[in-house]
């Protein structure tokens, strides 16, 4: 009988890989396989209702690349991602800072800001649809009560449109306003947790040194919260890039396609028996998402 002798070090390595194997298998099965399959489906004219497919090469990918509607959806997705990242960073951090500085009032603000997080995007979308409604919406009611438009006209400014969601110049703004109202609370909590993780002695020493709030934040707090900020940015970018339900309910991508986003664009093609084309869109989304992640990692590494 021949016994295989395996060195202890090699045994450990094998054991590590064996332990990793189930995770890798699951990762391959539920992530890599769908990605590869999605990429290949994008090469077909494929309705999605059966396994019947017609190979058309890169036509879907080429059509998407030159489609102005895709460019528009991509542009809107980027605008939403950038604005959400900035607003939710600034507002979320400010709220967390105020909550730390003025504990009683601040914690009330923090709790109130957190309420929207427990609501689904669909509920939020419906609620804000009524809020923006041109006939019975609360927003117009407030504007009417305060004679906002009269005041604006008096100083020579144009009136605020009755329907923010339907007006081409304000539709995307209405989406951004709602998305940020929904999102700020979560980031305030994340930053608040980050601020609490900083030792009280550091706050005391900043006080002793006589630093202003801005100096404290810029010179001490931000460098110490780098990992928290990075995490929050990853979350907000991922959430904004995949935004779907809110836009679907609030504007449906309209008026026309002015507030269209990539996931909505994809959905429309899938619902009209163009699963091959939709798969190609999904692959573009993946590539763009990966690029964003890579840029972010590079940025973080440089910072470190």
């Amino acid at each position: 009988m021949v016994k295989l002798r395996i060195k202890t070090g090699s045994k450990r390595i094998i054991a590590r890989y064996l332990l990793l194997l189930p995770t890798l298998l699951l990762y391959f099965l539920f992530f890599m396989y769908p990605v590869i399959n999605g990429l290949s489906l994008g090469l077909y004219k494929y309705s999605g209702v059966s396994q019947v497919k017609y190979f058309i090469g890169l036509r879907n990918y080429a059509d998407i690349a030159i489609d102005p509607q895709f460019h528009n959806a991509l542009k809107n997705t980027f605008i939403i991602t950038v604005v959400n990242s900035i607003v939710q960073f600034v507002a979320g951090f400010s709220l967390a800072w105020l909550a730390r500085k003025y504990v009683r009032v601040g914690s009330i603000f923090l709790s109130v800001a957190l309420i929207p997080i427990v609501l689904s995007f669909v509920s939020v979308g419906l609620m804000w649809t009524w809020f923006y409604n041109s006939s019975f919406g609360l927003l117009n009611g407030i504007f009417d009560f305060l004679h906002v438009n009269n005041a604006l006209n008096f100083v020579g400014l144009p009136s605020i449109p009755r329907s923010l969601t339907a007006n081409p110049s304000t539709a995307l703004f209405s989406v951004l306003l709602t998305a940020n109202w929904h999102g700020i609370g979560l980031y305030a909590v994340i930053y608040s947790a980050g601020l609490r993780s900083i030792s009280p002695s550091i706050y005391d020493s900043m006080k002793v040194d006589g630093l202003s709030d801005l100096q404290k934040i810029r010179r001490v707090i931000f460098p110490m919260l780098k990992d928290t900020i990075a995490l929050a940015l990853v979350l907000v970018i991922a959430a904004s890039f995949k935004i779907f339900e809110l836009v679907y309910v609030l504007t449906g991508g309209g008026p026309g396609r002015l507030t269209d986003v990539i996931s909505l664009y994809l959905y429309r093609y899938y619902a009209s028996f163009q699963a091959g084309y939709a798969s190609a869109v999904a692959f573009y989304m993946l590539i763009i998402g990966l690029v964003l992640v890579v840029i972010q990692f590079k940025f973080l590494r440089t910072e470190k």
Binding site: V49, A166, G252, G254, R257, S272
Partner: protein, 430 residues
């Protein structure tokens, strides 16, 4: 050694017990079946209630359960596509025919139910027109249930208050008369037309009519068969559509208003007209304060009014090819076609029946009777273009309608986009 035997004996006993339990469970499983039925009628309470009642009655008679799932339009197609593609579709599902049914048939996703059509009830109840709509290569693939047509609905009170005369169904309006009436209503401070721009399917109703009135009933079919292109006819139609939109005849915020909100706006008396399918009659029937009237879409001045064309589509029920309960599914289709259920459907939902069944007087509200009489006097009933075309081309047409309506594309560019898609899907013009 003894321990080994003990383990082995225990294992054998466990396996035998498990096998016996499985056999017992198999023996005990009910002989009745559960069938899934998916429909895109979410939010339509009367319709949902009807299907609930009919499935309960079917269960009482056969013991088989019909599990009904109601979805909204987009959600329905997304879920159905996924279910069909994964090989686990519902046993029965709704189809609007046209290009959608073509896809199901070409990809063997629906069962051939031609045998139903040889039965006497089907021969007497299902007319040639609706049968043709679900026939492919001489075989039938669905059961027509409802025939919805598109009309210009009128809130009589608003017209009377604005002192605008409502034309009769026979005389109708010319385009100029329609615009003049709209201007008068607008001057009275009411939106002439309630429009739902958030639902591109609803924009297809006026878009189809404008295309037909501008180019004739055969222009679209000719372009589909590639004897002509879509560019010329759509450029002409979209130019007129743009003029209409630029006249500002819709309610504020129409571009992001959904169908149901537009309907609410109309029935509350905030808009004078509503271009919709006949389902609007049923919806309005719950409002005792409203008197509904109906006219055909206006004609262009040089069009003879005798050349009447109405758009619409039939709602059909198909059996999935992958269903393991095809016999029961067909039995259910027979069951719902019984005259008593057809009458109940008409009464409960006010939905116009696709099958020919004698209805007791007073089944429908008077507006529906006007519509049904008009249909009988109409020589041509055309499937909505977005439905008639292959589904991918249909989606492009609906999309271009939306973009022209909202001023995001010029008529010429939108028409060119339709033609480009048609070349891709159907090939170049012969």
């Amino acid at each position: 050694m003894q321990r080994k035997y003990l383990y082995a004996t225990t294992a054998i006993v466990v396996i035998v017990i498990a096998a016996l339990a499985a056999y017992w469970a198999w023996q005990m499983q009910p002989t009745t079946k559960t069938l899934d039925f998916w429909a895109p009628f979410s939010g339509e309470q009367a319709t949902t209630d009807f299907w609930g009642n009919v499935s309960e009655a079917y269960k009482n008679q056969t013991g088989n359960t019909i599990r009904i799932s109601m979805y909204s339009g987009d959600e329905f197609f997304t879920k159905l596509t996924t279910a069909l593609g994964s090989g686990s579709p519902p046993d029965l599902f709704v189809t609007y025919g046209g290009g959608e049914l073509d896809t199901y048939v070409n990809e063997s996703a629906v069962a051939d139910i031609s045998n139903l059509y040889t039965e006497s009830w089907a021969q007497s109840q299902i007319g040639a027109g609706v049968k043709d709509a679900i026939t492919r290569n001489g075989k039938q693939y669905a059961l027509p249930y409802e025939l919805q047509t598109d009309w210009l609905f009128i809130n009589r009170k608003v017209f009377e208050n604005a002192n605008v005369t409502i034309p009769t169904m026979d005389t109708g309006w010319t385009w100029d008369q329609f615009i003049a009436a709209s201007n008068k209503i607008k001057a009275a401070g009411i939106a002439p037309v309630a429009m739902s721009g958030a639902d591109s399917w609803s924009l297809s109703f006026p878009a189809c009519y404008i295309h037909e009135r501008a180019n004739g009933a055969n222009a679209f079919k000719d372009a589909l068969t590639r004897t002509t292109n879509f560019t010329d006819s759509y450029t002409k139609a979209y130019s007129q559509l743009k003029q209409w939109v630029d006249g500002d005849y819709f309610q504020t915020g129409w571009a992001t208003t959904h169908f149901y909100d537009a309907y609410q706006y109309f029935q509350a008396g905030n808009a004078a007209m509503f271009i919709q399918g006949t389902w609007a009659v049923g919806m309005v029937s719950n409002n005792a304060n409203m008197t509904l009237d109906v006219v055909q879409w206006p004609y262009l001045p040089d069009q003879p009014t005798a050349n009447k064309v109405i758009f619409g589509s039939s709602t059909n029920i198909a059996v999935a090819a992958a269903s393991t309960h095809k016999n029961e599914a067909e039995e259910f289709l027979r069951f719902i076609s019984k005259p008593e259920w057809q009458v109940k459907y008409a009464k409960d939902t006010t939905g116009p029946l696709a099958q020919t069944v004698t209805l007791p007087s007073g089944t429908y509200p008077s507006t529906m009777n006007t519509v049904l009489t008009a249909i009988t006097n109409t020589p041509t009933l055309i499937l909505r273009y977005g439905t008639m075309a292959p589904k991918d081309l249909g989606a492009t047409i609906d999309e271009q309608n939306l973009l022209v309506f909202t001023g995001q594309k010029s008529p010429a560019d939108a028409a060119a986009a339709i033609e480009a898609k048609a070349v891709q899907v159907l090939g170049p013009v012969h």
